[in-house]
């Protein structure tokens, strides 16, 4: 789309659903999640894949190497986080007790198999910038967390307002138009736009234009791993991450892990079933932008 660049895009939000699997905390395979945390478990791989696909230049063709070559350029272009004001770029937290899907759940530190003094993060949010002509200055907010109010994986592109808002002069200011690409659940695309309310009055209200894979094609979308396994059998590596992309992503992630390792004290907490920690709001402080609801 012509607007997916620094001229048309105000900011892009990538939210990854992180499933709670009890086996992780109970230690199947040696208590995996306790050793990993949200940054390693979700951001480095799943969320970075969504970032790469969103921000990459169109490949010259559908050849796997053409696509993978464009993706790695995105990961390499991520501007390294400076730790002068880490709270403006980086948030980590742990969930406390709360209510999820109508059921009371314990805090992370009270879960079976979790060290009561654990500093493993169950929530991470990052504000990134890409050093490229196309995306310079556009914030990409990446977030993932366990036990949040809503289980959703999506890419949401918030467009810049037009230079002259003649509708916005009357009544309340206009919301930004938003393109949401839903990966889970209910795969589809929603374009949220401001529409004039029919009638003589000049009034505008946001409305959704919805497309849902499930209802449009009437067939079940294959499970993600079903597709990957099938591709492996066919020898198609388009959806597999190339080693140079993995190395580029880890070189970025490792700086954060080293920074966190030097920090002391308990992590900020958020109530299970909430939208995340209050500290996450600082990621967009001062920019006149609004935290996107989960």
């Amino acid at each position: 789309m012509a607007s997916l660049n620094r001229s048309g895009t105000a900011d892009t939000w990538i939210t990854s659903r992180s499933r709670w699997r009890r086996a992780q905390a109970w230690g199947r395979g040696g208590n995996y999640y306790e050793r990993a945390g949200a940054l390693r478990d979700m951001i480095q791989n799943h969320t970075f894949q969504l970032l790469a696909i969103t921000a990459m230049e169109p490949p010259n063709d559908t050849n796997p190497e053409s696509i993978r070559g464009e993706k790695v350029k995105v990961i390499r272009s991520i501007s390294p986080i400076t730790f002068n004001e880490p709270e403006r770029h980086l948030v980590r937290a742990q969930y406390a007790a709360g209510v999820v899907d109508g059921n009371e759940v314990p805090g992370y530190l009270e879960e079976d198999g979790v060290d009561p003094a654990s500093t493993t993060e169950t929530y991470t949010a990052l504000r990134l910038y890409l050093d490229s002509w196309r995306w310079a200055g556009v914030p990409f907010v990446l977030r993932t967390g366990k036990r949040l109010s809503r289980k959703v994986t999506e890419i949401a592109v918030h467009f810049k307002p037009p230079p002259l808002q003649f509708f916005g002069r009357v009544g309340t200011p206009l919301q930004r138009n938003v393109l949401s690409i839903r990966i889970q659940p209910q795969e589809g695309i929603t374009l949220n736009v401001n529409a004039k309310i029919p009638g003589h009055a000049t009034a505008v209200r946001p409305v959704n234009m919805d497309f849902a894979y499930g209802s449009s094609f009437g067939r079940v979308v294959p499970e993600a791993y079903e597709r990957l396994l099938f591709d492996a059998m066919k020898g198609d590596n388009t959806l597999y991450t190339r080693n140079d992309e993995i190395e580029a992503s880890w070189s970025f992630i490792n700086r954060i892990l080293d920074f966190w390792a030097a920090q002391r004290g308990p992590l900020p907490q958020y109530a299970a079933g909430s939208a995340g920690p209050d500290e996450a709001r600082a990621l967009l402080a001062g920019g006149g932008r609004r935290w996107r609801r989960i």
Partner: protein
């Protein structure tokens, strides 16, 4: 009470299909009503006024378990539809969460997943504020507008004996 979002959405869609054969307009806003009991007059008046005019999702959270004799939180879904002049159905998708003694029903983790995303959310607070300020604060985070009826909220009365509204 377990809130199964997929099951709720399916049930709402099924009820709407049963109610109407015509095309259904999509919801334009979420209205979340917090009240002490289910038969809150002002909420009913507001919904009756809007019925047939604007398609909406209404989530009604009833906070007082004693009033309805409830012990566990529970969730009920229904829909009301009205066919407009263009032969399109304008439906209220209604979800009633009755908060039990466990308090789970009013927590954001119970009702936030049921909001339709990317459309305005309005909170209509017809509940007391005593011991409920945290619930209101969480609700505010989800809303474009919050309407608090002070008749219910235990504000101090003015000298004339009337509540500020």
């Amino acid at each position: 009470m377990t809130v199964d979002v997929v099951a709720v959405e399916k049930e709402l869609a099924r009820i709407q299909r049963e109610l109407t054969n015509s095309e259904v307009r999509t919801s334009l806003f979420n209205l979340v009503v917090f009240s002490r009991n289910a038969a809150e007059t002002m909420a009913s008046e507001a919904l009756n006024y809007l019925l047939g005019k604007r398609a909406a999702r209404v989530i009604h959270i009833v906070s007082d378990p004693a009033a309805d004799g409830e012990i566990e939180s529970r969730l009920d879904v229904s829909a009301r539809c009205y066919v407009d002049a263009e032969r399109k159905s304008v439906c209220f998708q209604e979800i009633v969460i009755t908060n039990g003694s466990d308090g789970a029903g009013g927590a954001p983790g119970s009702w936030v997943p049921l909001l339709v995303r990317d459309i305005p959310t309005i909170i209509l607070w017809l509940d007391t504020l005593r011991d409920r300020r945290e619930v209101l604060a969480h609700a505010q985070e989800q809303a474009e507008k919050v309407l608090v009826d002070t008749e219910h909220s235990n504000f101090a009365r003015r000298p004339g004996g009337r509540h500020p509204r």
